[in-house]
Symmetry: none
Subunit: 215 residues, 4 copies
């Protein structure tokens, strides 16, 4: 009896015979010398939007937080447990990453839940309800935008949420100071699962644009 | 001027010409029909331990939470923001995953910070300090195990922490009920960055063993 | 009636027709010229961890002490009988070996007995209890490490004990002087019976590492 | 830099590619199920007289104590450290071996030291001197037997010493009781390094005889 799902064990064996076999030197060096990723990505848990796949990233390249709907809460030094803030502090202060990318995506279940303002909690603890309440004011506004289709409201909130998370990143003193000194960049991106397109947030306007159109 | 780091843009172009080009049908179907991952992985943010790489997983296969040191807090329905609990609730109640895997790894910076009990906070907010305090009692005990080397203490706490997170998973009623009904499995795994080995937790004993040895 | 167990007699006949037949010249030279082994191994009595097998060593290569749990007591020139100290003195002063290796192994019964701190003596003489009391302080500490599994405690004490024996070797003036002059090396090793792996102690850190990973 | 002598590392690699590769199933079973050797061998540390070689024994077959000159001290339940007595207790009471073999050999350095009654200590601790004093009365008598050649005195004391150790084995209550019940056999053997011959002690007479002569 395996103590891990067979499908994962089979995948792990592919890894050992494939990627690890061809990159063992890199893994060993990364173990010996420690990680020095230049970029932190804050992404969603969604199984269709893995940052390493979308950015074709190898071991050691991306420091990745994944939570539902790729949210960053505002700076709250209140002594409570803050998973995302802890990762942010570690990436910026200890690893000294140079870039932070907030990457959302289409058809996000968390954003869908936030828009479904009258839905019953998923469980008595209502953890998703509470978590998505981070963007509740925006969700309520967008859900009332009845001139937009449901799909348009979904995409709109996905993008609003990315801009909101980037704004929250700047409430962390360490982030705003380093960005001010030109030592840290903040980016937004939105991934279209269906077309595979990555839409990048224009830092000046907040708009999401396809970079390949500029190429 | 690109609004996203050049290295990520280059990687994204590789994705479009590579993985997406060969799997566009799968991405389109996943967009159209929604995600139905069978497995949730709770992993670390570390750039060297991406679950999709280690399990050679394609789009749609793994629902992934990543936080520093792959911790699961105990069930606390207190109305606060709980990133990991929200993802857990979503995976179990909405996506109805069949498996949850807590995957730790060697040389984990979060575990190292927890063992460094007298270290100064990384920033005034001390988010890492607070986050890692989830395993503070174990960290204090292990950091006092001076007969072990620093590396041995690190590995010991990494594994203790995985067992602790699995125990915390069971404090969530939805998890313990479904596990009791045989509809949800809980697994632990520990990835050795240097050797590429995956050590799987034996559910009966809590020991970490290499599955290839049983083959 | 044979005066020695039949299985040993059969094995001896294999030796005469096999190894001795092909290495008789070497045995004769070793008899004529005396032994000049370069290495002393201090190993356990365990039937699964014979040093000559693990190091593929032929006649004349290894001077081998074997006691329960491969312990080296500290230097005590008290006029009592000291089996291991006598062998050490003979190897270093008379044979002038260049290397001493303390080799422990997994699933060691002596270490297991030491961890079982409240067990009854095996016999009224309690020789094992007294012998293993050489590492009693460490055994008590490790046996109280309840966050670790039984197997983890066992491995931890096996490795701590090797480091302790190496430290005790250095309490012998002849060892510390020759090591200081670069004429004697001290090594630690731990054999995993199941996987056949030899983990070698890093002299700088005390950690046990698989040498093949560095190849 | 290797942390173990290169020659041992090379030998270990031979073991992994040779004996372990062909007997991995046996090693794994021995790890899983524990050792159950039927025979304990008390042998000398001498590099030319490894019991596993002489008895062509595989993993799991022989529980082996090795000290200088393969001595067994008499039963002394005095609360001191007794390496050999501890191994004996473990073999008989815990592993329940069926046979104990005391195996000496020709050209034994420890026996030679015992015969050299006026030699200076090897080191200030004089551990060999003290250890070999276990057979001091016999050594003094034999060293005075000037009608015998030096070589004859050496062989004589080697064989006297084996008989003495077997007599000492019987001073352990657990040994004498089990031997009386027919559940434990005691044997003596003497290995001629040059010729490869094993001389077996006749239990009735104490003489050492070559078993092949009876075949």
């Amino acid at each position: 009896m395996a103590h891990i799902p067979d499908s994962l064990l089979a995948g792990y064996r592919n890894f050992m015979n494939g990627r690890y076999a061809s990159e063992s030197g890199r893994y060993r060096a990364l173990a010996r010398e420690g990680q020095t990723p230049e970029t932190m990505v804050i992404a969603c848990c969604d199984s269709r939007a893995a940052p390493e796949a979308i950015f074709d990233a190898g071991p050691g390249e991306l420091f990745v937080v994944r939570n539902v709907a790729n949210l960053v809460p505002p700076y709250e030094p209140d002594g409570e447990f803050h998973s995302t803030s802890a990762a942010l502090e570690f990436a910026v202060q200890s690893l000294k990453v140079k870039n932070i990318v907030v990457m959302g995506h289409g058809r996000c279940g968390g954003i869908g839940a936030a828009l479904n303002v009258n839905a019953a909690p998923l469980s008595p603890g209502d953890f998703i309800g509470k978590w998505m309440s981070l963007i509740a004011p925006a969700a309520e506004t967008v859900s009332g935008s009845t001139l937009m289709t449901q799909s348009e409201r979904q995409t709109a909130l996905e993008r609003i949420s990315i801009r909101y998370s980037i704004a929250n990143l700047r409430t962390f003193p360490c982030v705003s100071i380093l960005e001010g000194k030109g030592r840290l960049t903040l980016s937004g991106a939105w991934f279209d699962i269906s077309s595979g397109e990555l839409w990048v947030m224009n830092r000046a306007t907040g708009d999401f644009e396809r970079p390949e159109e500029k190429a």
